[in-house]
């Protein structure tokens, strides 16, 4: 018997795109309906097959398993912004036609298996090279771990986003984004100190898992394990947990953004005596350095969950960051960054403590329309284009935050309030 998966749109306008749904409840319902996950097919309301994939980003934690769908049709607006009423559904069945769609997004591992130097997430629009080692290919320095050292976005002439000036004279080796400078892992309440800091920029990452399908390509990487020491409140003894920061990086088909989920976990197999994995609360500092000619940071005081750093001279490009937490301490330029020629714009920001953090890294380009007013001077024309670029990037980042992070489309097997 087919299973209905209800769709929730919290916006006042019809939306479409990708939906992620927790796999656990769906799996249980499918089991009751006698549908094996390997046989399942998904159909929309018009009975057309829907692209989907099942992802397991953390092998140690099945609660993170998700079912991903790509909708072709729009989901009508819901009653309110609280997911209180489903306005669409898809059907899961074991019979029917398969949708054979070529995967747009893919993962390319660079380097020997088990010791990858980098992973490249690529789709038809975006290509992000995520560096796994402290050193980067052909560059001196040991501070590139866990950063995207190259981000290329579709475009006719200039493709690199982080260094848009690089089409003639080679890239600036210092350019990078999405880097985690450090994590502060919180101590228990009875501790004398609030947190323990672990720097990550100079330690290698390990590739944990790769998943590709018609909806998205994703990789899970783990930072080098660190020893988290705390005092046992019962015995008073010092204890130690070996934990790692996990980063799940996902690139959806045809998207120009990377969605990232972060969590710090101590695994059973790395900690003798631990009965189940433990997720630790942590805060993180991100770092990016971009070679923008005229960098500008856009931030809305009332919504401290996203910001965008944009180049407000041609070529107009932007890097936006959105998160489900607040963004604290945006330092632009980052003080004490040892780059003396001043051609890099270094930015750092912090995300406050949480058990897990979801964020989105948005890469945009703006090609303004050609529409000079009668008698408009060149300088005024260019200033107008610069303003248009700024509004465009702010709109893109704000919308990405709202649609992908704050109020995403949701799917659930139960038609209940707050699915």
């Amino acid at each position: 018997m087919p299973v209905k998966l209800f769709l929730y749109n919290p916006s006042e306008y019809a939306r479409t795109g990708h939906i992620a749904a927790q796999w656990g409840p769906i799996e249980a319902r499918l089991k009751n309906a006698g549908i094996a996950s390997e046989q399942m097919k998904i159909f929309d309301q018009s009975n057309r097959p829907v692209s989907f994939q099942l992802d397991r980003p953390a092998l140690h934690d099945r609660s993170r398993d998700i079912l991903l769908l790509t909708l072709a049709d729009e989901v009508p607006p819901g009653r309110d912004s609280h997911y209180s009423r489903a306005t669409g559904f898809v059907t899961i069945d074991s019979s029917g036609l398969n949708l054979s769609k070529e995967a747009d997004a893919k993962v390319i591992a660079v380097g020997p298996k088990g010791h990858e130097d980098a992973v490249i997430l690529a789709n038809s629009r975006l290509q992000v090279r995520f560096n796994m080692t402290a050193s980067a290919e052909g560059i001196e320095g040991n501070w590139y771990a866990g950063s995207a050292t190259s981000v290329q976005l579709e475009g006719r002439v200039i493709k690199e986003i982080l260094d848009p000036a690089s089409n003639f004279w080679g890239h600036d080796p210092e350019k990078r984004c999405m880097q985690l400078d450090f994590v502060d892992v919180s101590y228990p309440a009875w501790s004398e100190r609030p947190r323990q800091r672990f720097h990550l920029y100079d330690k290698p990452y390990k590739l944990v898992s790769v998943s590709t399908g018609p909806v998205r390509a994703s990789v899970t990487v783990a930072a080098a394990p660190f020893n988290y020491r705390y005092r046992d409140p019962y015995s008073g003894h010092e204890r130690e947990l070996c934990a790692s920061l996990y980063r799940v990086l996902s690139l959806f088909a045809e998207a120009d953004y990377v969605i990232e989920e972060l969590f710090v976990t101590a695994l059973v197999e790395e900690n003798e005596g631990l009965k189940e994995p433990v997720d630790l609360w942590f805060a993180a500092q991100f770092f990016s350095s971009v070679c923008f000619v005229r960098p500008h940071v856009s931030r809305i005081e009332g919504i401290p969950d996203w910001f965008a750093i944009s180049n407000l001279l041609r070529p107009f490009v932007s890097y936006g960051f959105c998160t489900d937490m607040h963004v604290d301490s945006v330092l632009s330029p980052h003080p004490d960054y040892p780059c003396t020629d001043g051609k890099l714009h270094a930015v750092s920001w912090q995300v406050p403590r949480s058990e897990s953090i979801k964020c989105l890294h948005l890469f945009s380009r703006f090609q303004p329309s050609i529409d000079q007013y009668e008698g408009e001077e060149f300088f005024r024309y260019e200033s107008r284009k610069s303003r248009e670029a700024k509004f465009h990037f702010e709109d893109r980042a704000g919308r990405a935050w709202y649609e992908q992070i704050f109020k995403p489309l949701r799917a659930a097997v139960e038609e209940v309030a707050n699915a």
Binding site: A165, R314, P315, F378, E382, S383
Partner: protein
């Protein structure tokens, strides 16, 4: 009475005649000044490696000549006005012809003055462009190292603009400015860039982004370099391309 009248007529007649002569003379001088300004511009254009100082000297000379031409045009206009005021009395037809001649001369003088003014503006911009590139940003050496790539890219931009159905000028600028901005960013030091921005802000004093002004100046400087580089090129298309690029860029400011 007759003597006085005759005398008055004579003065009047003499005055009208001198108005036409004065207008024509002023026109001749304005046109000579324009030719002189054009010669100065052609001389500096002809220099194989015109440096900022050459442009400064030339632009100042052209500015002086344009100012003088404007003065002459004013004189011609004044003479023509006088002639027009005096179109009266028995010789009205003749006086009207003379006034028309004076006005025609004044018109030509103003045309020459306007051309000289345009030349002054172009020379001023080219001088500022050379100052910006060579004395403020210090990008000459970097340009020399990468000029082939830059020329190639700008030629591609011109080709894209040429193929566009409309708004070719803006299309060319939209395609070319990223290259110029990137060139400034990579080719100059931050200190030189800041000094240049300050210089533009102080001397241009317009209500616009000084970086955009700087981009436009560097665009002019590179277009000039391109015209000089390819003016003896056997490929006529290339020569035409660079003349077109310079024309497009000169209209920026």
């Amino acid at each position: 009475m007759p003597d006085r009248l005759e005398g008055h007529d004579l003065i009047k007649k003499g005055s009208d005649a001198s108005s036409v002569t004065a207008a024509r003379e002023a026109c001749r001088q304005a046109e000579t000044l324009l030719q002189e300004a054009e010669r100065v511009k052609a001389d500096v254009d002809a220099l194989e490696a015109a440096a900022a100082k050459d442009w400064i000297v030339a632009s100042r000379a052209i500015a002086d000549l344009a100012e003088s031409a404007a003065e002459r045009a004013k004189e011609a206009s004044a003479a023509a006005s006088l002639a027009r005021e005096r179109v009266d009395g028995p010789n009205r037809a003749k006086l009207r012809r003379e006034a028309s001649a004076a006005e025609e001369a004044a018109g030509r003088a103003w045309t020459a003055a306007k051309k000289a003014e345009d030349l002054k503006k172009i020379a001023g911009n080219e001088s500022d462009a050379a100052i910006a590139a060579e004395l403020k940003l210090n990008v000459e050496e970097f340009f020399a190292d990468h000029k082939d790539q830059i020329y190639k890219r700008l030629q591609e931009c011109d080709e894209i603009a040429r193929k566009a159905a409309s708004k070719r000028e803006l299309m060319f600028i939209a395609e070319g400015l990223p290259i110029i901005n990137s060139f400034i960013h990579v080719g100059s030091s931050r200190a030189d860039l800041n000094a240049s921005i300050e210089w533009v802000t102080r001397f241009w004093g317009i209500d616009a982004d000084p970086f955009v002004v700087l981009s436009a100046l560097i665009f002019i400087w590179i277009a000039n370099k391109g015209v000089k580089e390819f003016r003896d090129d056997p490929d006529e298309t290339k020569r035409a391309t660079w003349n077109r690029i310079r024309e497009r860029v000169e209209r920026l400011i």
